[in-house]
């Protein structure tokens, strides 16, 4: 009797476990399939976009009329951005696919730049035409390589989950067909990467100026410690550690970390080897209660900059985050604001101490510039501004435009309905270089409990 019950219970138990296990298994497979399908979509979409890209560059080459060239180039730009988006969804982060992505970005930038300019006044130069031809050839090669990978994927039912597993398990990455396929694509691009994008194409990113404007002699490690001690003024018994930069850095710097256990404060600072300039400085401590106003804090920040010989700066923006004030300063030269020369200072609103400083932008770009006289007057420039904007302030300013070139502009701050805008009109060409909508404070979304 007892045995019978036991057997029955066990049988039900086993059967139950089996059913449960099977369901789990099915669910897991469904989820895996879902992830796999997402990858597949991104991948096939990518090859499609590259197909399209190649076609489109081909058509642009054959176009003659300016009126069709601009939309054609704009389309090339759009396609590259979509292809770029697809790449971002594939598990390729650890596979060297950078060159290909860079290539896509370059085509995108090139076509954008050409598409937005007035091709009637400035038609494509022969050089640019040749660049386009080369891009056409390169994209054909990439298209071909990708199609080959696509064919393998479809033919052999290769899955991206395998790629992910291979990548996750590290060195086995070498013998995965998909990864190898992408490596081939990458090699192709690399061999072509010398493409001349023509003058004015400064590269895809803000060129790394590497503190070329800094003056002064190399400092030693102990000097770096001395500088950091002066900034942080730690108490006795604080732990100070100085380390040099790694070999991969483009410029020399010392990192100083100061740990003051008495007041539970950690200060960190990077200092350039050349000249001993502070790149950034951060103090980590609790700031519990606001005791001074943002205005007092901004005065402290100004005094601090003066004391450290950072001169000719304008307070550009101030904002309070919790109990800290963050201030952005920009350079000025003869009443012209130099936006690339930016310094940020963070002040604790409990005692007014400087708890953060960042001068990377400033140190990289600050030098005595030849600021030319504006060719068009502020009055003329004002006429280029949308008439609905109620202009409140105006000045001249040097900004970085879309192509990362420094240009002199007339800057207008104005109001349109409830929003404030900053509008930059090129002081040379009258071109509307940039229109920024300035942030309004964002409401705090409380949990709707």
């Amino acid at each position: 009797m007892l045995r019978g019950i036991l057997i029955a219970v066990l049988t039900i138990g086993i059967a139950g476990t089996a059913i449960w296990g099977y369901q789990e298994h099915r669910e897991k497979n469904a989820i895996l399939q879902n992830a796999e399908n997402n990858y597949q979509r991104a991948f096939h979409d990518l090859t499609f976009q590259v197909d399209l890209l190649n076609d489109k560059i081909g058509t642009v080459l054959a176009m003659n009329s300016r009126s069709s060239l601009s939309p054609g180039l704009a389309e090339v730009w759009k396609i590259t951005s979509q292809a770029h988006n697809d790449v971002g969804q594939l598990p390729l982060t650890l596979v060297p696919f950078n060159k290909t992505e860079e290539f896509l970005a370059n085509i995108g930038n090139f076509s954008y730049k050409a598409a937005v300019r007035d091709l009637d006044k400035e038609p494509l130069t022969d050089e640019e035409y040749n660049t386009l031809k080369k891009l056409y050839k390169e994209s054909a090669k990439i298209q071909n390589d990708l199609r080959e990978v696509q064919h393998m994927v479809l033919d052999n039912h290769l899955t991206w989950m395998d790629v992910e597993l291979a990548l996750a398990s590290g060195d086995k990455a070498a013998d995965n067909t998909i990864i190898n396929g992408f490596k081939t694509v990458e090699k192709t691009v690399e061999s072509y990467s010398e493409t001349e994008f023509g003058p004015g194409m400064v590269g895809i990113q803000k060129s790394d100026e590497n503190f070329q404007y800094l003056k002064g002699r190399e400092i030693t490690e102990s000097k770096a410690e001395e500088i950091a001690r002066k900034w942080a003024s730690p108490g006795k018994g604080a732990e100070v550690k100085v380390t040099g930069n790694g070999e991969g850095s483009d410029f020399g710097f010392f990192s100083v970390a100061i740990e003051d256990n008495r007041n539970n404060t950690q200060s960190s600072m990077d200092i350039t080897k050349k000249g001993g300039y502070p790149i950034w400085y951060i103090v980590s401590r609790d700031v519990d209660q606001q005791k001074i106003s943002l205005n007092d804090a901004s005065n402290k920040a100004i005094a601090f900059l003066k004391q450290n010989q950072f001169e000719n700066l304008d307070l550009f923006e101030s904002a309070q985050y919790d109990n800290m004030g963050v201030f952005t300063f920009v350079g000025t030269q003869n009443e012209t604001r130099i936006y690339p020369d930016a310094i940020r200072v963070k002040v604790a609103l409990d005692n007014g101490d400087i708890i953060g400083f960042s001068a990377e932008d400033y140190l990289k770009s600050h030098h005595v510039r030849e600021v030319p006289q504006p060719k068009i007057t502020a009055e003329e420039a004002k006429k280029k501004v949308n008439t609905n904007v109620n202009i409140m302030e105006e000045r001249t300013a040097v900004i970085l435009n879309d192509l990362n070139e420094e240009v002199l502009c007339h800057e207008f701050t104005g109001v349109l309905d409830e929003d404030t805008y900053r509008i930059y009109i090129n002081a040379d060409s009258g071109l509307e270089e940039k229109v920024e909508k300035l942030n309004n404070a964002e409401p705090i979304y409380e949990d709707a409990v």
Partner: protein, 284 residues
């Protein structure tokens, strides 16, 4: 402590002022604290400033306690109209003029904020007609929820926050999640560094162009892959993210980082290394 007491006293004072009809012998900058209020400031003084400017019809925005552009222009217009120096700073003189010219029903404003009501503070109209109750939130799971505990929890603080240009509170939250999941055991500076790497990738042409794109790129961050990103981040992670967004990059423009003890990929070791912060090595 003293400060709190002062505020309480001031609150009482203002309430009394609101009840007693305004007379000319009460002309003092009674409620404002003695700070110079400048753009970017947050707090009670800003709430009062906005309310008073709205009373006079200069300010049409929301009374949220954050001195933004709308408040700035309203203040400048006020200064212009009243023959003051137009500098956009609420200093002693400006505040006195403002107090003289306007009324501020502090208890009313505070109550509206506490209740989360939509309200305005224009002069010449009954204040009670200028409020609308907050739209009811969709019904929660449990029925018959009591409003009492919620009353106690909702503070009468400012209802908005400064956000760096181009980022929303939710972007910051998402990044804080990622930073917390990736680097919660790291020193503060190491957390800023991780946030800075995310931003460097957003800037870079070879990575997706949005914060979410970078964070959720497959296999980019282990914390995303194993779900640790959905842990609730602490205040430190959020501060680290704010620092990174505000322009602090402790990494020397790094694009990658890895933990040498746990990294499995041989490839990552081949990247040019810039520096080590905490347990992470940062590379180009």
């Amino acid at each position: 402590m003293k400060f709190k007491l002062l505020i309480k006293l001031l609150a009482v004072f203002v309430m009394v002022m609101a009840i007693i009809p305004y007379s000319s012998n009460g002309q003092r900058a009674a409620a404002f604290s003695d700070q110079v209020i400048q753009q970017g400031a947050v707090g009670d003084d800003v709430i009062e400033l906005q309310s008073r400017l709205q009373y006079l019809g200069f300010y049409n925005g929301k009374i949220d306690g954050v001195f933004g552009w709308g408040t700035y222009w309203a203040l400048r217009n006020f200064q212009y109209e009243f023959g003051l120096k137009v500098d956009g700073l609420a200093g002693e003189e400006t505040k006195n003029k403002l107090v003289k010219a306007s009324k501020y029903n502090k208890s009313h404003v505070k109550e509206q904020i506490r209740k989360g009501n939509k309200f305005t503070h224009y002069g010449g109209t009954d204040l009670n007609k200028q409020t609308a109750p907050k739209p009811k939130a969709p019904a929660q799971g449990q029925a018959g929820n009591q409003p009492a505990p919620q009353q106690g929890a909702a503070p009468d603080k400012v209802t908005a926050a400064n956000t760096p240009n181009g980022f929303s509170q939710n972007d910051i939250q998402l990044m804080a999640n990622a930073v917390y999941g990736e680097a919660r055991g790291e020193p503060y500076i190491g957390q800023v560094a991780v946030a800075a790497v995310i931003l460097n990738r957003v800037e870079s042409a070879t990575f997706p162009n949005t914060v979410s794109g970078v964070i959720f790129e497959p296999l980019a961050f282990t914390a995303v892959a194993d779900g640790q990103i959905w842990l609730t981040p602490n205040e430190t992670a959020r501060k680290a993210v704010l620092d990174a967004i505000n322009g602090w990059d402790p990494t020397g423009e790094a694009m990658y980082y890895f933990n040498p003890d746990t990294a499995t990929s041989a490839w990552i070791w081949g990247r040019p290394q810039i520096k080590k912060i905490g347990k992470h090595i940062f590379c180009k």
